[in-house]
Every structure is written in C-alpha cells, then in structure tokens.
C-alpha cells in the first residue's frame, strides 16, 4: 500500500513538473505582455499596461502578415482538403498490389523535412516558369502561389489521414443505393458521401488552416513578396524583440482556449441532446414539444466559455479607459531616485578616490585620466553601458529613455560641468 501511494504521489509530481514545463513558458510570456518595460520581462513587475496591444494593432508589418497568412491559409485549406479527399478515396479503390507504394508516396511528405519541401517547391516551379517562358513576375513565381503549393504538399497528407479514418467506416452500398435510385455520380457524391464525411472534412479543414498558419520551415523559402505572420514574427523575434510579440502570443493563447472550450461545449451539448432524444417518446418528438436541454445545463465547458467571454469584455473595457501613465511616471520617478542615489554614491566615491589620489599625486606627476571609454563628450563614464544596470542587451533601449527624459528631472546631473574629474 505504501508503495502504491508513493507511486501516486510521484506520478502527480511528475505530471506537475511536466505541465509546468509545457505551460510555464506560455504563462510567463502572457505576463510579459502586460508588463511595461520595453524588453519583455516578467520580473520585476513594473506597471500593468495595455500599450503593447495597441502597438500591435498599429504595426503595419504584422497586419500585412496576418492578411497574407489568412490568404495562404484559405488557399491551402481548399487545395489540401481537395487533394486529401481525392487521395483518400483513391486509397480505398486502388488496386491492392499498388496500395502499399501509393500509401508510402502520400505519407512521405510528412516525413520530409519542411525545408526540403520548401526548397524543392521553389526550384521546381522556377524551372517550370523558365521552361514555359514566363517572366520573373509570373503567377508561377508569386509568393502566395508557391507558399500554398508548398504547404499543401504535406498538409494534404494530414488531411488524407483524417479523412481515411472516417472513410473506412463508410458503407459503399450507400453510394450504390443512390446510383440505383437514379442519381448521377456527382449527385451521389454530393448528397450521400459528402454529408457523411462532413465532420471529418471540417476537422481536416481546421487542421489544415492551423498547420498552414503556423508553418515556418517551408514558408520561409517560398514566401517571396508575401510574408506571412509567422515569417514576420520570426524576423521580429530574431532582430527586435518587444512585448508586442508577447501581446500577440497572449491573444493567440486566449483565442485558442476559447476555441477549445467552444469545441468542448459543443461536443458535450451534442451528447446531451442525443441522450435526451433517445429517452423521449415518439409523441414528444413529433409534436415539436421536445425540450432541448439548456445551453448551460451540466456543461462545464459552456460555463467556462461564458465566464471567459465576460472576463474578456471586462478586461477590454478596462483597457480602453485605463492609462498606465501615472504608474509609468511613478516608476520612472522611482528609477530617477535610485539613479540619483547611485550617482551620489559614485560621486562620493570619486571624491574619496580623488582625495586619495591627490594625496598620492603629491609625490608623482599627475597623469591624464582618460575617460574609460575614450568618450569626448565630457560626460565621462556615466553614460557607459555598465554604469546604470548590469544587462547588456536592454541598454540599447534604456539609454534613449534616459536621454529623452532629460526634462523629467535628471537635468543638471549630467551637465558637462557636473561630474567628470578630468
């Protein structure tokens, strides 16, 4: 017994660590979206601010990226689902001897590295472009076209897997019955097979869109003049990080959670309705007096959904009226005080040094004290990166702030006549 509960505890601990690893980064990133410093940090927490969200909506490149992502996504969904469906249907009908080879070919794109797919797409269609004789501006070298093609190559494989699973449960006698009753093949497909496949097609479409939206490896070679959101993000993340990215991530997380809850609520509701229908009697069904269970009844996901929706409304409402200016001013004031304190200390120490040195110098010739960084501005070492805080990267964004706020009270401290002992 003891070993059993020990195991259970260790399992729970393991799970806890695991989920912390999995979800931790997201939580932290969400926090940085609301924190005021310009470099995303969760600690120390300075001010609650919504400015990064505002910055997000004003960023041209991001908005353009979103537009392209949606265009590419739409194209990819259509092409992938169509090819996946055709591939799935073919798989069920193909000559058994050929089946294994065929299956290997259509599964292969999942295993081929995304970069390879991107490159091969680029190279191939470029060559076709040249063979057909079109110029560099042609449709075939359009970034949107190439990206849709490249992504669909492997996303269709995923779609096919989803569709085949459903297709295997289909009774071909249904198509035959439709034909027998006079339907053309197109009608049989449209009226019998397609409705049956609808749930799987919907899943495949959602899957395709999400996979397309977040694809990087392949898109990074094919996007041409039409960067998707993912590409823009990658550029930003590599070359200029701001919490606006965290803000975007946070929005996506919230949307995802919404979608997941919505999905759960839907499933649960369908189950409830089906169960109620089974229990109902024929008269209830016919007379239309059939009472459908309420939207929220025994449906935790729906409740959570509603709660989240309310919370979102509240937060957005607050955001529009809330201004962090006061808080930021406070923080800056705080910083100013700290900095002044430090400068005082520094000044004191230098005075002591100078005094000591003067005492020494009485014996030796005075040496010119070059500013540590060879700085001609006369500000001495005060503006050098290491003086104020210890971090390298963020100083690029800190220094401008310090310079800009000259009118907020740092004033005389940095006046040329101030510190330098040179």
């Amino acid at each position: 017994m003891r070993s059993l509960s020990f195991m259970r505890v260790s399992i729970w601990v393991y799970l806890a660590i695991f989920f912390a690893y999995l979800l931790g980064p997201l939580v932290i990133m969400s926090i940085t979206a609301f924190n005021s410093p310009e470099f995303p940090r969760a600690t120390p927490w300075e001010c609650l601010t919504f400015e990064w969200f505002a910055a997000l909506f004003q960023d041209e490149r991001i908005l353009n990226g979103i537009k392209n992502s949606i265009l590419v996504g739409a194209g990819t969904v259509v092409l992938s689902v169509a090819m996946g469906l055709a591939g799935a249907l073919m798989l069920t009908q193909i000559w058994p001897k050929l089946r294994a080879t065929y299956y290997t070919i259509i599964i292969a794109p999942i295993l081929i590295p995304g970069v390879v797919i991107g490159i091969s797409t680029l190279v191939f269609w470029d060559r076709i472009n040249r063979m057909v004789g079109l110029g560099a501006d042609s449709f075939l070298s359009n970034g949107l076209f190439l990206t849709v093609i490249g992504q669909s190559t492997f996303i269709a494989s995923y779609c096919m897997l989803v569709l085949v699973a459903r297709l295997q449960r289909y009774d071909t006698a249904l198509t035959e019955a439709a034909l027998d009753l006079g339907a053309t093949h197109a009608q049989a497909f449209r009226k019998v097979l397609l409705p049956f496949m609808k749930p799987a097609i919907a899943s495949a479409a959602v899957l395709a869109f999400l996979a397309s939206f977040e694809n990087y490896n392949t898109t990074t070679f094919t996007f041409g003049e039409y960067p998707t959101l993912t590409i823009e993000l990658a550029q930003k993340v590599r070359y200029g990080i701001t919490p606006a990215i965290s803000a975007l991530a946070f929005i996506i997380v919230v949307l995802t959670v919404f979608a997941a809850l919505f999905n759960e609520a839907n499933i649960r509701r369908k189950d409830l309705v089906a169960m109620a229908r089974k229990d109902a009697t024929v008269e209830e069904l016919e007379s239309g007096k059939f009472r459908v269970p309420g939207f929220l009844s025994s449906n935790w996901a729906a409740v959570a959904l509603v709660v989240m929706a309310c919370a979102t409304v509240v937060v957005v409402g607050t955001a529009t009226v809330y201004s962090p200016a006061q808080c930021i001013a406070d923080v800056q004031e705080q910083k100013r005080i700290e900095t002044e304190l430090r400068i005082q200390e520094l000044r004191q120490r230098r005075a002591e040094e100078a005094a000591r040195k003067a005492a020494e110098e009485a014996e030796t010739a005075p040496k010119p004290q070059a500013a540590p960084s060879g700085n001609n501005s006369g500000f001495g070492g005060v503006f050098s990166p290491n003086a104020l805080t210890g971090s390298g990267e963020e100083e690029e964004s800190k220094a401008p702030e310090a310079e800009d706020s000259n009118n907020s009270g740092f004033g005389n401290v940095f006046a040329p006549s101030g510190l330098s002992g040179d």
């Binding site: 940090r41 090819m83 055709a86 970069v115 993912t230 996506i252």
Partner: protein
C-alpha cells in the same frame, strides 16, 4: 482503355473520376515526386546566373557535393570541417533530443492511456493548447525565460545559486529545451494511441504473477507499444534534424544547425544549387536513418499514421 481504368470510371463516373484522378496525379507526381527529382537534378548543376541556365555552361557536376566534404577549391583545409561538423552535430543533437523526448513523454503517454476519468480530457486539452500556438512564439517564450534577464536567471541569481546570469543560450541548453518542448505532442500521441489499445488485463496478469513495474514495462508494455514508439521517435527525429525556427531563435553562435546552413546558401549566398545539394544530403541521411531504425525494430510504413 485498360480494364482497371474502365472499371474505375464505371465506379466513379467520368466527371468525378477524372477530377479525382487529376487531383491525385497533381499531388503525387506534380507536388511530391517531380519537385524532389528536380531538386536532385538541380543539385548537380553549377550555380549560374539566370541567363546562362540551359546554356553551354549548364552541365552536370558534382562540385556542390564536393564542396560539402572538401570545402572551397584551393582553400586552406583538406576537409570542409566547419560544415561537416555542423552536419554531424545536428544529427547527434537530433538523436539526443529524440531520446530525451522519449524518456520524458513515455510515462505521460502511459498514464494518459491507462487511466480513466474525466480529468483525462482536460489533460489532453492542456496538452494540445500549447501546440496551437505558433512555434515561433513558443520558441520566443523560451527565449524570454532563458535570456540573461529572464525569469530563470532572475530566480537563480536571486536565490544565490549563480552570481552572474548564466548564458543558457550560448550553452545550447535553451536550444535543447526548446527542441524538446516543440515536439512533445508528436511523441505522446502515437505512444498514447498504441498503449490505449493494450488490454489492461495483460498488465494485471503480469502483476498477479509478481512482476515488478520495470519488468512489466520492459516485457509487456514496450514490445506492444513498439509501433507507436518508433512512430513518435521517427517524427521527432525528422523534425528535430530539420528544425529551423528553434535554432534560429534559441541557438547561440556556436550551435549552428544544418538547416541554417541551407538557409544561408539560399538567402545569403544565393547559391541555390549548393543549398539544394545540402538539402538532398539532409533528406537522404534522414531517410536512411529512419529506414535503419524501422528495420531494427521491425516496424513498417503502415504504422506511421496518427
């Protein structure tokens, strides 16, 4: 018309049948087979500016492949040590990440598969949600955490474990953590699927006979879960070796990934044939390794389906 073609059109109608055939052929031949062949062919050509392509200078050559191994002609080294080392490291790292992932995810998959209850659905949801977030953003989140002023460093310094912030990025720890993080779902689900179909009674019978848990796993569960395990490992390995975003965002200057070399060839050097050659090398190596593993563990392609 050959008989099977006639039967095909009988079954599906001429219109629908043609559409189906067209889509499937476009996909298999036009999108899968031909581009790969084209890339292969391209990798054997010299890097010519557009006007000269197809002209007299456009001959087949192995120079792109030679470059990978021997470096630039007339160069100072005998072997292209830099690129070769990157290639080698990428593969080793991918293997390492795969194993790490396997060890990490196997218990989770097992737990999810063998326990019942409503909380399982919530767990599954919690597992899936991070994956609907862009991989760039996930890498970004880790970058924030592992950065010099990130949460991790702040915590470590604050607790006094380190005096100065530890450079996770330069030491590749961030990268490995990032890669491990990225493909957890792909490792869990195949294993989960397989273990779920394992009859609980087998395990209980083993316990009845006095087997210890490690033994049960080794002799009962793992052999049964082989297809799922190899499926997950294959996918994680291929994706790690071919990863681009994580190395670009989380990698330090010394941890260049082979895919980054390819990227450089295409974007920075504009040497498409060279990049194509590298891509072919990557592809072939990955395929060979995967085939070897499949052979070793006696699984086949049909098992790799989610």
């Amino acid at each position: 018309m050959p008989r099977f073609l006639r039967e095909f059109f009988n079954r599906n109608g001429v219109g629908m049948g043609s559409l189906m055939l067209a889509l499937v052929l476009f996909w298999t031949v036009g999108l899968i087979i031909l581009p790969q062949l084209s890339m292969l062919d391209f990798s054997f050509r010299p890097n010519l500016p557009p006007p000269e392509i197809g002209g007299p200078k456009d001959v087949y050559t192995v120079e792109n492949y030679k470059y990978l191994i021997f470096g630039p002609e007339g160069g100072s080294q005998d072997y292209n040590a830099v690129d070769l080392r990157v290639f080698y490291r990428t593969l080793i790292a991918a293997v390492f990440v795969t194993l790490f992932n396997l060890v990490l995810c196997y218990p989770i998959a097992y737990y999810l598969a063998q326990t019942k209850g409503n909380h399982i659905r919530i767990f599954a949801l919690m597992l899936i949600i991070p994956y609907w977030i862009n991989e760039i953003l996930r890498a970004f989140a880790l970058r924030i955490i592992f950065g010099e002023t990130g949460v991790l460093n702040n915590a470590l310094v604050g607790l006094g474990i380190f005096d100065t912030p530890f450079d996770f990025i330069r030491n590749d720890i961030a990268l490995y953590a990032g890669l491990g993080y990225a493909y957890i779902l792909l490792m869990i689900f195949p294993i989960y699927n397989v273990i779920e179909s394992l009859d609980r009674n087998q395990i209980e019978a083993a316990r009845d006979m006095g087997a210890s848990w490690p033994m049960i796993h080794r002799r009962v569960v793992i052999p049964y879960a082989k297809p799922g395990i190899s499926s997950g490992c294959t996918m994680v390995f291929m994706l790690s070796a071919g990863a681009l975003a994580a190395p670009q965002i989380l990698g330090g200057p010394s941890s260049l990934w082979f895919t980054q070399l390819i990227y450089q060839q295409f974007n920075d050097n504009s040497d498409w044939p060279q990049g194509a050659a590298y891509a072919v090398v990557l592809l072939v190596t990955c395929i060979l390794l995967v085939l070897a593993v499949m052979r070793l563990f006696k699984v086949n392609m049909g098992d790799i389906g989610k």
